[in-house]
Subunit: 254 residues, 2 copies
DNA sequence: CGAGTCATTGATGAACTTCAAAGGGAGTGG
DNA sequence: CCACTCCCTTTGAAGTTCATCAATGACTCG
């Protein structure tokens, strides 16, 4: 069955994944088809999309997909692994602006000014489909459902950014961490992976930077949630024990 | 010259504005053309756009443009006045998610799920151009530069959302307030209005909610900036005395 | 094995919130 | 025209949450 070396994410439920970084898989073959760009496209249209998509070899941890200030040429659909985007500050230091999982689009930050406003690096061995933007917009003119799909994906980015903003402005440290765990869980689930067990691909520092709290606070909150039995924690492996309790926690007034 | 009753925003520089709420002005006549959607469109294309744009009578202060949960049908280009968007919380209370000035597009929050995720109300007497989204997307297929323009406007929304997120997660109350003032100033300037004098259309409560701080803190910070001579303050009238100093303040590490 | 990175935990302090009270402006009605 | 109310705003004092500083523990990789 699982004849290839599937990276065992967590003990009890290894996920058989055929060639997750394999550059020869087309959009029509891709397991992610139903949550990536091609959704709502018929097979002919998917093939058209395929002709402009470029698939390179996998990136290793820390490898840069693009960096802040670089000319914007393409958007990228994450195929496997995960990425973080971050912005550097003048006086040193940086701020993580997003995490990207398979099926999600990274690089939209460059659309408006034609220059990337953030840098993006792989958090683990990862691969992407590169989609040259100019060609993509041309194709979108011919395929209404593709244009529509992309409008909606950008809209999604906007609304989820706004959710994060709410998180940052009114929620406590505990609520922020809980919300991130739930978000990762939901996104796992969309890929038919376990909703309750996940491996955090990012460091505590990344989490803290993203959530606007310090690494120490992240650590303390995770410990607390663990002691309260809402989650189980083993390094970067997280098991969500009480999903509902976490959700209520996030909903609560600060 | 200025024969109509131009609303005098602030003493020393009254702005002559011809019929700012006048629903008969077309896109090609509109003073905002160069910063609104029509940018980069030729006159034929602008006329095509005009055919789908609907202009209603002005909204009064507190009037709702659309509310959270409503079906998404259209986006709106602000023509005059100003709006705020906000989200209600389950347990009561709300969070302001954005302010919108003339030339800006409001309503993109509904694109992804076809349901508005925020409510939007007028902060003063205001008017909008309603752009039915379905027809707009159809037109975008025919006018590449319109599609392109809208991609970029959505991209802009994404990058500016991310800037606000940075503001909320790493900046102090003082920096946040300063950043908002600068943002309003910049947006004023784009409309050829004074960059140094402006009238805040929103309450302190709105500002606080938007910036993730309390109304008391907003008040204290404004007083402090005023005492330091960076701004002059008279109710909602603000004069920015030291633009550069404010900018440096925003840039500083917290 | 040792160096380096990442993570946990404790003690202190600062920024902001919360609670409380009082000071304007704008609008309404007598 | 004045008194009245309502809302918005300002200012002060006490209380929390989280950041900062500091030290130790755990894991990884050459």
């Amino acid at each position: 069955m699982t004849d290839d070396r599937s990276t065992e994410l967590i003990g009890t439920y290894s996920i058989p994944q055929r060639c997750q970084h394999n550059p020869t898989v087309t959009c029509s073959d891709c397991r992610l088809g139903e949550l990536c760009l091609p959704i709502a496209l018929d097979s002919i249209e998917i093939n058209q999309l395929d002709t402009i998509v470029q698939r390179g070899k996998p990136l290793q941890i820390g490898d840069e997909l693009f960096h802040e200030g670089a000319t914007f040429n393409a958007i990228y659909a994450v195929r496997s692994g995960s990425f973080k985007s971050y912005k550097l500050f003048a006086g040193g230091g940086s701020q993580v602006t997003g995490f990207y999982l398979p099926g999600e689009i990274v690089g939209m930050d460059g659309i408006s000014s034609l220059t990337h406003t953030v840098s993006t690096v792989a958090l683990e061995t990862s691969s992407v489909c590169e989609i040259p933007f100019k060609r993509f917009t041309e194709l979108s003119l011919k395929i209404p459902s593709l244009q529509n799909r992309f409008f909606r994906m950008m809209g999604k980015e906007i609304t989820s950014d706004q959710q994060v903003r709410t998180l940052l402005s009114v929620k406590t440290a505990e609520q922020r961490v809980a919300a991130l765990l739930l978000s990762l869980s939901t996104r796992h689930q969309r890929r038919k992976l376990s909703a309750t067990r996940l491996r955090l691909p990012m460091t505590r520092a990344d989490i803290g930077s993203y959530l606007g709290i310090t690494i120490e606070t992240v650590s303390r909150v995770l410990s607390k949630l663990s002691k309260q039995g809402l989650i189980k924690l083993d390094q970067r492996e997280v098991e969500i024990c009480k999903f509902n309790a976490l959700q209520e926690l996030v909903m609560e007034k600060p």
